[in-house]
């Protein structure tokens, strides 16, 4: 049994690394863009790299940059970064159910890497009935993390080399990737009502309260629909 697990660790890690490939491609422009914008906003190259390495959450890093430039109180910048990342509380509660066998230290390390795609792929593993092992999880997380940090550095060094990101479709790669993940969950009960409700909720809140709050608000609408109306939730009464 012990032999079996040590032997299966490397393939698990490699399988995780394979899951990271589309994420590496889709996230690269944002990692580079962050580095370039950070230097633009007055951060040193070291600070830009430190921010990517310590926070490791793209949207909130961008929001942080926007506020560094103005005359915003430091605590308010911190609060804004955390608010953008508040959706992770949901990921954490939901993905924690897949990692419950891990020892505490591995859990503590694993949750640091719980990005949007990391969470989605973790749930996909569970969807396919696969155990979410630490080796698989880190196989996916470490390449994403390493490149994210390197991209901040490269972006800060050569910020202005990508002259026409629009022509390369860079701004639309992440939505395509995320739609792929949404489709991957189509076997779940009540999938279509949840997707429809979240889509409507996020579009309305995007127009009314703006980005990035549409993520939490839109998701709340979809989750609420599941809590109130899904067959699994209703059969208790």
């Amino acid at each position: 049994m012990i032999l079996e697990t040590t032997h299966s660790r490397l393939p698990q890690f490699l399988r995780g690394a394979r899951s990271s490939v589309p994420v590496l491609v889709a996230a690269a422009p944002f990692g580079l863009l962050f580095g370039a914008l950070a230097v633009d906003a007055g951060l040193s190259i070291g600070e830009a790299v430190a921010m990517s390495a310590a926070i490791f959450a793209g949207a909130s890093q961008m929001v942080g940059l926007e506020l560094f430039g103005g005359h915003v109180a430091p605590w308010l910048v911190v609060l804004s970064i955390v608010a953008v990342n508040f959706r992770h509380v949901l990921y954490s509660a939901s993905a924690g159910r897949r990692l419950w066998r891990w020892p505490p230290l591995k859990k503590a390390a694993g949750f640091f890497f719980l990005t949007d795609p990391q969470y989605a792929e973790t749930e996909r593993q569970a969807e396919f009935g696969e155990e979410v092992t630490f080796a698989w999880y880190m196989g996916m997380a470490l390449p994403i993390y390493a490149l994210w940090v390197i991209e901040a550095w490269v972006g800060a060094l050569f910020g202005n080399l990508i002259t026409n990101p629009h022509a390369l479709g860079l701004d639309f790669l992440l939505p395509i990737y995320f739609l792929g993940l949404v489709i991957g969950f189509r076997q779940r009960s009540f999938w279509l009502p949840v997707v429809a409700a979240s889509a409507a909720g996020s579009i309305v809140s995007y127009e009314v309260i703006g980005s990035p709050w549409h993520v939490s608000a839109g998701a709340a609408v979809g989750i609420l629909v599941a809590v109130l109306f899904s067959p699994a939730a209703r059969k208790v009464e």
Binding site: I81, F172, G180, F190, V195, G201, I223
Partner: protein, 99 residues
Amino acid sequence: MSQTMWIILFGAIGTYLTRIGGHLVLSRFKSIHPRVQAGLDAVPAAVLTTLVAPAVFNAGPAEWVAITIAGVIGWFTGIMPMFIAGAAVIIALRSLFGV
């Protein structure tokens, strides 16, 4: 340490707490109510949809064509063919029509 580094440090601590907090709170409960369970099961599709829908809503014809083709391919195959096809279509349409 510069003020920027302090902001980064506390931003990082706060972000880590959001990533571990949901689990720490939930693991205090011995059993999960079916409604909570149903809500948690809806989280991935709900959150990920919000990263797609407004982007598509505010996009143009090239993006609509690309995401539709990608969606159909994704439904019948997997995420990798879908991703590559979507990227190819968006680059082709934008370079052909400049939209």
